[in-house]
Point group: C2
C-alpha cells in the first residue's frame, strides 16, 4: 500500500535575524509530509500537539558559531521543545498513540530520532502542556538552577528577575518552600500582582516603573541579596551587584535584555564580586538532563499537593507561533508561553 | 625610669583620594613614639622592618562604606602588612627581639594588638621579605585562589593577568607544577621575559603592545581558556570571556585597571557565562587565613627545592613608600614590591 501524503504546515526561518526580531522573520509554508519511515532507522513520526517558544531560541536565529547550539538555517523548519503524539515508530521504545516530549519541528508532523524523545510518565494526570513548562525544560532549569547552582539555605534573601516567566515563577516558589525571603521583578502590574497573590512572593515590583533600580533593591532588600536568579542581565544585574551580600550566589540562567539589543548595556559593578566574595555561575538545563526523573517526581508531588502552582499562557494555532515568539521576547506573555498546534488524535 | 621617646617618621593620608592617586596624597610626618605599653593590654610595640604596598590599599584611600575593609582616615597613619621586630611586649606569645608579621603602620614604630600578629616560623631561613610575598598574604592569595577557587586539574589551559606581580608569578608556577599550559600577560618586555625565562610560563605577552586582545588570546589559546586568574579587569576580562571553554573558572582576585579609572571600562561579554556554563568567583585571602601554616610549609618546601622562585622589588626607605605605592598601581614594579624601613636591631 502506498504511503499517504498529508498537508504539513511549517514555520521556517526566512533569513538570519540581524536587527530586532520581527514576526515576519518566521514564515508559514504549506508543505507536505509522507506518512512513512525510512527502513533501517529508529525514527519516529510525530503529530505535534504543543510547541514551546523559548527565549534561548532567539540566539539560534542569528548566524553564529561557537555556541552550544547550532543556528537555524534560513529556509528550514524551526525546531524546539514540543509535546507530540506518535503516529509511526521504528523505535522499540515508542508505539503509535504514545505521548512524548523532546525536540520537534514547528510543524504539524515531524520525523525525529527516537532516542531523542522522552515518554510522558505512565498514568500521567497532568495537562500535556506541563511537559513544556513545570515538568519540562523550564522546570528542570528552575530546579537545577536553584537547588544545584544557587546553594540555597533557609533564610536566604532571594531575588528573581523575569519572575513570572516560565522559570522565574518556579524559582520563587521553590525558594519560599525552603524558607527564604523572596522578591521578584516583572514588567507589568498584572504580573506583579500574580507574583504576590498566586506565587506567594514576599514582595514584587514592576521594573519598568523604577527609575532607580539600585534604590528599589535597597528598599526591598534592606539586608542585602544572598541569591540572585538572573534572567535579564543589563541594568538589573548592575544594580544587583551593588546590593549583594558577602558570599552571594548569582545563577546566570538568561539575559533576555541582551537578546534583542544591538548595543547592549555594559556591566560596571563586577568588581563587587571581590569584596563580597561572590560567585556568578552560568548554567544550562541540558547539563542536568539526568535530573528529569527527579523533577517529574518531586515537582509532580508539589503540584498535586498544590504547594506549587504553574501559570501557562497558551496561544492557539501553529500559524500564530511567530507572534508568540515575539511576545516572549517582549515579555508580553503571562506565565509560560505555549503554542497549541493540534488536539491529540484519539484514533491513534 | 621614665619611658624613652623616640623619633617616629609616619606616612599619613593627606585627604581622601578622589581622582588618580598621586605621591603627594601620602605625606611623611616627623612624629614621636613613647617606648612604653599601656598597662592591662596585650599590646606589642614593634620596630617596623619591611612594609608592603599592595593594590587593595588604593581602595582604602577613598571615602567609602560597605566594603570589607575600612577607609584610611585623612591625617592618620597608613596601615598594611609588614614584617617587624618586637621591642616591647605585653602579650605572652611574643618577646623582645622576635620577628613577627601582621598589620602594622607605615612608620618606624607601631603599637598593635598582639593577637593580630603571626610569629615567623622558628628557625626561619627565608629572607624576612618573603613573609610579605611568597609566604605572606600574596602567597596565600595565589595558593587559595588557584587551588581552592580555580578547581585546577592537569592539562587545563590557564591564563594569568598581571602575571609577574606579587600573586601572578606564583599562580603561574603552581599551574605549571600541576601540568597545566600557562600563559601570562604583563606590561613590559622585561616582565614578559621574566615570565618565560624565570617563572617557566609556556607563553607570555605584553598587553600594552596588543591592539586586539581577543586576537592575542586566540593566538595563545587555540584550544580556549579553562582557568583565568583575574588581576586586572576591564578589556582583558572582556577578551577572556570571548575565549573561555565550557566549564571555565574565573577566579577574581583583583581588577587593578579599575582602581585608578574614573570612567571604568564596562564589561560586554558576560553573557558568555551561560553557553560556557562558566563560573566567576571573587575571593579574599582573609577568608583563607587558616591556610597560612599550610602555605608556609608547602610553599616553603617548593622554595627550598627551587621548584618555585619568587622575585621581589625592594624600595629603600620609608620616605619612598608613597612612590612605591604609585609604582604598584602603575605596574612599574617588577615582582613583589616591598619597602624597607629599617634593618633588624641586633641589640633587641
Amino acid at each position: 500500500m502506498a504511503a499517504m501524503v498529508v498537508k504539513n504546515r511549517q514555520i521556517m526561518l526566512k533569513d538570519y535575524v540581524t536587527g530586532s526580531f520581527e514576526v515576519s522573520d518566521l514564515q508559514l509554508h504549506d508543505g507536505t509530509c509522507l506518512l512513512q519511515l525510512q527502513e533501517g532507522t529508529k525514527d519516529v513520526l510525530l503529530k505535534n500537539l504543543y510547541i514551546s517558544p523559548d527565549p534561548y531560541m532567539r540566539g539560534r536565529m542569528q548566524k553564529r558559531t561557537n555556541s552550544y547550539v547550532d543556528s537555524f538555517l534560513p529556509g528550514s523548519v524551526i525546531t524546539g521543545f514540543g509535546v507530540s503524539q506518535v503516529v509511526l515508530s521504528s523505535h522499540p521504545k515508542f508505539s503509535k498513540g504514545d505521548f512524548v516530549t523532546g525536540f520537534t519541528g514547528w510543524e504539524d508532523f515531524s520525523i525525529v530520532k527516537g532516542e531523542s524523545l522522552r515518554p510522558l510518565p505512565t498514568g500521567n494526570s497532568f495537562p500535556l502542556t506541563h511537559f513544556l513548562g513545570v515538568l519540562g525544560m523550564p522546570g528542570l532549569t528552575a530546579y537545577a538552577g536553584f537547588y544545584k547552582v544557587c546553594s540555597p539555605k533557609e533564610g536566604d534573601n532571594v531575588f528573581v528577575s523575569a519572575a513570572s516567566g516560565a522559570v522565574g515563577q518556579l524559582v520563587g516558589q521553590f525558594a519560599k518552600l525552603l524558607g527564604c525571603y523572596v522578591v521578584g521583578s516583572a514588567g507589568s502590574k498584572e504580573k506583579v500582582d500574580l507574583l504576590k497573590s498566586t506565587f506567594g512572593f514576599d514582595e514584587a515590583f514592576n521594573y519598568r516603573e523604577q527609575t532607580d533600580l539600585d534604590a528599589a533593591l535597597k528598599k526591598y532588600f534592606p539586608n542585602g541579596i544572598d541569591i540572585y536568579f538572573e534572567n535579564v542581565g543589563g541594568k538589573m544585574l548592575d544594580a544587583v551587584l551593588n546590593n549583594i551580600n558577602v558570599f552571594a550566589r548569582i545563577a546566570v540562567c538568561g539575559m533576555i535584555s541582551r537578546y534583542e539589543s544591538a548595543e547592549p548595556y555594559a556591566i560596571q559593578n563586577l568588581i563587587q564580586l571581590i569584596p563580597k566574595r561572590a560567585k556568578m555561575q552560568g548554567f544550562l538545563a541540558t547539563d542536568f538532563s539526568h535530573l528529569y526523573p527527579e523533577v517529574t517526581e518531586k515537582v509532580g508531588v508539589l503540584l498535586k499537593e498544590k504547594k506549587v502552582v504553574y501559570i501557562e499562557d497558551v496561544t492557539e494555532g501553529l500559524e500564530n507561533a511567530p507572534t508568540a515568539m515575539l511576545d516572549v521576547l517582549h515579555g508580553k506573555n503571562v506565565g509560560k508561553k505555549i503554542v497549541k498546534v493540534s488536539d491529540p488524535d484519539i484514533n491513534l
